[in-house]
Amino acid sequence: MKKTLLVVWLLLGAAAVVAAQSGTVLLNAAGATFPYPIYSKWFDVYHTAHPNIQINYQSIGSGGGIRQLQAGTVDFGASDGPMSDEQLAQSKFKILHFPTVLGADVPSYNIAGVSGELNFTQKALAGIFLGTITKWNDPELTKANPGVNLPSTDIVVVHRSDGSGTSYIWTDFLSKVSEEWKNKVGKGTSVNWPVGLGGKGNEGVSGLVKQTPNAIGYIELVYAAQNGIAFGKVQNAAGKFIKADLASVTAAAAGAAKNMPDDFRVSITNAPGATSYPIASFTWLLIPAHIEDAAKRDAIQGFLKWMLTEGQKYNEGLTYSQLPKGVVEKELKALSLIQ
């Protein structure tokens, strides 16, 4: 017992000494859960290359990330939705947004006797989730899927019950394509869903869809790809039906990047471009514009630079789409704003 204690104390002491001597920079961060797999990969690889920089990331959710950053308990935050003007105004210090990776939502469904990929028009998705389209053989659906024998059964809608960036992207898309959705429901990590069952997490939604006959739900592309879940195509702004994959999501970002605002707070749902997948989004790191501690400032800038160049190579292994070139260049320039 005493020996164990002694060892523990020695280890703690050694850790403290090492930390003090080599000028280790310890960065604390918190926020979004969706990019957590790629973030933890990045932080790990970066720490191996730069042993004196250690980044602790807590995936507590976007809301928590924003709040902790504003309270000053973390060095930087992460969020799936950009901070609102109101939130930025409330903040005591200036916060910069840096897009890191791209994510997308896909519609997954379970209809008896239908095995192929369905095409979903924008109107159809909005109608289904508003509860105005209630049958699978609604003209809006049959018209886009010639040759598919859609049954006359009731549609069971499934959405996320937990607050999530996935819901933010989905509702952002629906707000853009449907005036009624925008006025009645709006966009956010949690909304007042007009219809449907709530499942917790991607696994909850996909589980409910798989189990419930005639159900439709939305899940993250990463989750669908990793678990081999089939999903449908969605009509984009150019009127084409596009299947979500790494390329079509990057195309959406490239389409939107042409008029990227200087603060990077941009929504790329329903992006222009014939090959763009319409339900995609950036996810952001939230960095304070002014960092007092020079060591921390250098560490954060160094990491961001690496993440935008070297780090992007790790994306596709984890089925996250790479940032388009134009966005990377713009972000590299914006690094100098951190002072």
Partner: protein
Amino acid sequence: MSATATTVAHEVPPTGLRAFVRKLRTGDEIAHLITLVFAAGILLVTSLLVFELWRTSYLSRAKFGWMFFWTRTWDPIFDNFGAAPFIYGTLVTSAVALVIAVPLGLASAIFLSELAPRKVSDIISFLIDLLAAVPSVIYGLLGIFIVVPLMRTILGPAIKSVLGFTPLFSGPNYGVGFLTAGIVLAIMVVPFIISVSREVLLTVPREQREAALALGATRWESTWQVVVPWARTGIMGSIFLALARALGETMAVTMVIGNDPKITASLFAPGYTIASVIANEFTEATGDLYLSALIELGLVLFLMTFILNGLARILIVATERGGGRPA
């Protein structure tokens, strides 16, 4: 305060510090002090909890007032929050759970304490205690993979064919909903009822049973009319322990209830409970009012538990008066 303190004070005339130290040596004072501090600690934690909930829910209380209890909307985008569907869902699922779990638990406890051979009883109750220690997420998974499909394909249609004419069992059956959540909760709380009730029934003195049997009562009459009334307080206690667990259960319920904040008479309909919505939405709640409303929901749950426990006490006192166990 305690009788011991007074007697000690009589033996030793109080002469400042030395007297105090001497008092400490007897041990009683120390024990008294330590237990007092610990007991006060519990009280302190509870009051801090309520105070913190009260303080941080200020925004929501100021904006919605009493309407918070009646409003049926929960809209984080347009900042309109009401607790009604969540209160309803919490009460309904807990009620369903108790309706199923109480007869089941009580019958099992009676069998284990009165009828089963002691050895069998001990083995089974050991297994039941193990059940009580299973994490709730396991029960949630059990719910998703077994109870939900069963409800959709067999149980639900069967209930519907018999009782479908009542509003309680009308409407579409998705497999998830109030009834499924209630069933999963019942499975979770039944071990508490069995375990505690059995212990209480075993403490009933042998003489009570023997007296009843001597008067010509059958085994069942002696059990139901003498043993169970004697143990009534303890059995009630086990039921309220089960209720407390059902009210506060989060993970298992959120996995099978459907998470739709609506008030529907049908038990097949999806619903929502207070604990579930807090667990679901707290992490991503960005607005101040939104967060405050979620915290006020926590306060409401605390209040509900408080009121139900109060009612339980009244019920116990009332039934005591009706006879049964002598004071």
